[in-house]
């Protein structure tokens, strides 16, 4: 039985050690990170959009993490200041992402605040960004003979969309765009914010 137990104990021991180092210690260390006062919790409209973002799997191609100067070209591209743990205080599930098949979206609301652009881009990415490989999300839109009260109508370039009819955004598309244009992380954060506040995290 001894050898059986030693394999068992060894396997348990190694995985427990890894859990301690990679999960538990960071959890304790990060538990002191408070949400910045300038970062608002998700509103109902943006939260519904975030759910659409997660459900459609946007994070498989778009990251939400800006890297520090000196590590990649994020700063040169104007993607915003480097991200810090406190920027994600309200994010469940996290959407940091591991691919940049498309650009980082941590500050997409700063770079591209136009709802109209985002709606048209979701409907037909290549109409706004020639050469894009992003899938068309046409299923988030409705084609109608004429618009009704409260419809958000797409302003599409000539030749895109059905001729003589209007394309309007379904609720999920509207929520998704509300979420995207809300993505702004411009307030000071990280060590700079702490020293500016006189040593304490505001």
């Amino acid at each position: 039985m001894n050898k059986y137990l030693s394999i068992f104990a060894g396997a348990l021991g190694t995985v427990a050690f890894a859990f301690l180092v990679l999960v538990l210690v960071p959890r304790v260390q990060l538990s002191g990170v408070a949400a910045p006062s300038a970062l608002a919790p998700w509103a109902d409209s943006t939260l519904a959009g975030r759910e659409a973002y997660v459900s459609l799997g946007c994070f498989y191609c778009h990251s939400q993490q800006v890297r520090a100067p000196g590590f990649g070209s994020d700063q040169a591209r104007g993607w915003g200041r480097a991200s810090f743990p406190e920027d994600y205080a309200y994010d469940r599930p996290h959407q940091l992402g591991t691919m940049r098949t498309g650009p980082d979206l941590m500050n997409i609301g700063v770079r591209q605040p136009s709802r109209g652009w985002h709606l048209a881009h979701l409907y037909q990415p290549r109409a706004m960004t020639p050469g894009s490989v992003m899938p068309s999300f046409a299923f988030l839109f409705r084609v109608k003979e004429r618009a009704e009260m409260g419809d958000e109508i797409l302003n599409l370039p000539p030749g895109v969309g059905p001729a003589g009819r209007v394309v309007v955004a379904a609720p999920q598309a509207r929520a998704l765009v509300s979420y995207l244009v809300s993505l702004k992380h411009e307030y000071p954060a990280g060590p700079a914010a702490i020293s500016a506040a006189g040593g304490a995290n505001p």
Partner: protein
């Protein structure tokens, strides 16, 4: 069923007794193992079809844009889960269930538990992947299946583990072969990492750390140890000689246990996590050279002088190719974790190429080899066609080579373009496009290989064709040679 076990007199030669024990072991595992294999082969075909659709979407981004269920983000997710948990997961478990009774010389304890586990595992995947297609996801890579549904697989895994662990406790051997070490450890590791990562208590960057601690360990502490257990079993088995060094295999085991479990956070290099945490994972990734070298040296020195056998044994050919790719993909991973290199390839298709070299080139090739060995012994029928096996091997190998070479080259160029802030982002997209076509070609060949294998598997389990006296691969041998061997 036990009535069919051949009875040998107690004073029989040891080889006869060992043979009878192996037959008894196989009879105890036949039902659950075949169920795991049938399921795995179905998931392989489904998963690779979804993979090809996902790849084609890069060439035709307006294709299948009419339904949310067929958008890239969901098709890709079904692909990953179907091949990782359905194909690799279920065939590896079937393999473990088959190996353990042979290695500990005791029949499987309550095969019904393992049968129930296989059904449970399938139920989990059917429910989970339907949920993903309908838009219900936990939103974490490798952990997409909604956590309430995950309860099903936790129960299934528990049933499976109890059957195997009791079997080992009732063993007749004093000695544990290294494959048993890997199987036992994987059975301890997987439930722990899976249950922990699914706890709904994490958020923000801390959740990202848990996510990748799990994501990498699904490979490092589940798929890899079970695939290595198979390689350690089949290379000596087919060659008919022991593994070169017992102690080296233990060095490989413990170094893998310690270092691999710490690798995960290298998926977040440059990200907003504590630097010490990322550095720990980079260090552990580099240290993986130790277990990988130990295993590679052990396999190679066992094979030396016997490479000719690759011509006649499809099992050996697949397993050895997979083992060599294990060495390559592991060393690639260690380099990929270095900050200077990662700076270029992180966020690019390079990573996707690496993942496929691991799960297909390493784990799946070994699994194919294992199934070529095991299935005839369970269904009492040789594989009907040597030609189909050869087509399978060369298509699978060519497919994965084209796939990985395309994404390694394309991902590198993509990363270089992204790294230059003066170039527009679309440069990185455009430079990758021809390589994504190469990926679709490689993927189509892999799908072709998988479909051929699935068809041949179906022929074998349905016992189609004429009963063969010798394995199909020996078509290659001249008749006089076979006659000589049989005499």
């Amino acid at each position: 069923m036990s009535a069919a076990v051949p009875v040998v007199p107690v004073d029989s030669p040891p080889s006869d007794i060992a043979m009878a024990e192996r037959v008894a072991a196989d009879q105890s595992t036949r039902r659950p193992v075949l169920l795991f294999f049938h399921s795995a082969v179905v998931w392989l075909v489904i998963g690779s079809l979804f993979g090809l659709v996902a790849s084609l979407k890069f060439q035709f981004p307006d294709w299948l844009a009419g339904q949310a269920a067929l958008t890239f983000g969901r098709v890709r997710t079904v692909h990953l889960n179907a091949v990782a948990y359905g194909w690799a997961g279920m065939s590896l478990i079937g393999l473990a269930v088959w190996m353990i009774p042979r290695l500990v010389r005791a029949p499987l304890y309550r095969p019904g538990l393992a049968v129930a586990a296989a059904w449970g595992w399938n139920l989990w995947l059917v429910l989970g992947l339907s949920a993903v297609l309908l838009g219900y996801t936990d939103g974490l890579e490798w952990l997409e299946i909604p956590y309430p549904i995950d309860a099903v697989v936790v129960i299934a895994g528990g049933l499976m583990a109890s059957s195997v662990l009791v079997t080992v406790a009732r063993r007749k051997t004093k000695h544990f072969y290294v494959s048993v070490w890997y199987v036992l450890a994987a059975m301890v590791w997987f439930p722990i990492i899976f249950a922990t990562a699914n706890l709904p208590i994490f958020g923000g960057v801390e959740q990202a750390a848990v996510n990748w601690w799990y994501g990498h360990n699904a490979l490092g502490l589940f798929i890899t140890p079970l695939a290595l257990a198979a390689a350690y079993y089949f290379i000596p088995k087919v060659l008919g000689r022991p593994i070169q060094s017992y102690s080296l295999s233990l060095v490989g085991f413990w170094a893998l246990a310690f270092f691999y479990s710490l690798n995960g956070i290298h998926h977040l290099i440059g990200g907003p996590l504590p630097t010490w945490l990322i550095t720990t994972s980079i260090t552990a990734s580099v240290m993986m050279v130790i277990p990988v070298a130990a295993t590679a040296v052990n396999f190679h020195t066992t094979m030396v002088g016997r490479f000719g056998a690759l011509q006649y044994s499809p099992s050996l050919r697949f397993v050895v190719a997979g083992s060599m790719i294990y060495t390559a993909v592991s060393l690639q991973g260690s380099v990929e974790a270095l900050r200077g290199f990662n700076r270029i390839v992180h966020f690019t298709q390079y990573t996707v190429g690496h993942a496929h070299l691991g799960v297909y080139g390493f784990a799946s090739l070994i699994l194919f080899g294992a199934l070529y060995f095991i299935v005839p012994r369970l269904v009492d029928w040789e594989w009907p066609s040597g030609r189909l096996i050869r087509w399978h091997f060369w298509l699978a190998l060519a497919g994965v080579v084209i796939y990985v070479a395309s994404l390694v080259a394309g991902g590198w160029l993509e990363g270089r373009a992204m790294l230059d802030g003066a170039r527009p982002f679309m440069d990185a997209v455009n430079v990758t496009k021809p390589y994504l076509v190469g990926r679709t070609v490689g993927g189509a060949l892999m799908l072709g290989a998988n479909v051929i294998f699935a068809y041949h598997y179906w022929l074998a389990v349905r016992r189609r064709g004429k009963r063969r006296l010798e394995p199909a691969w020996s078509d290659r041998l001249s008749r006089p040679v076979i006659a000589g061997v049989l005499a």
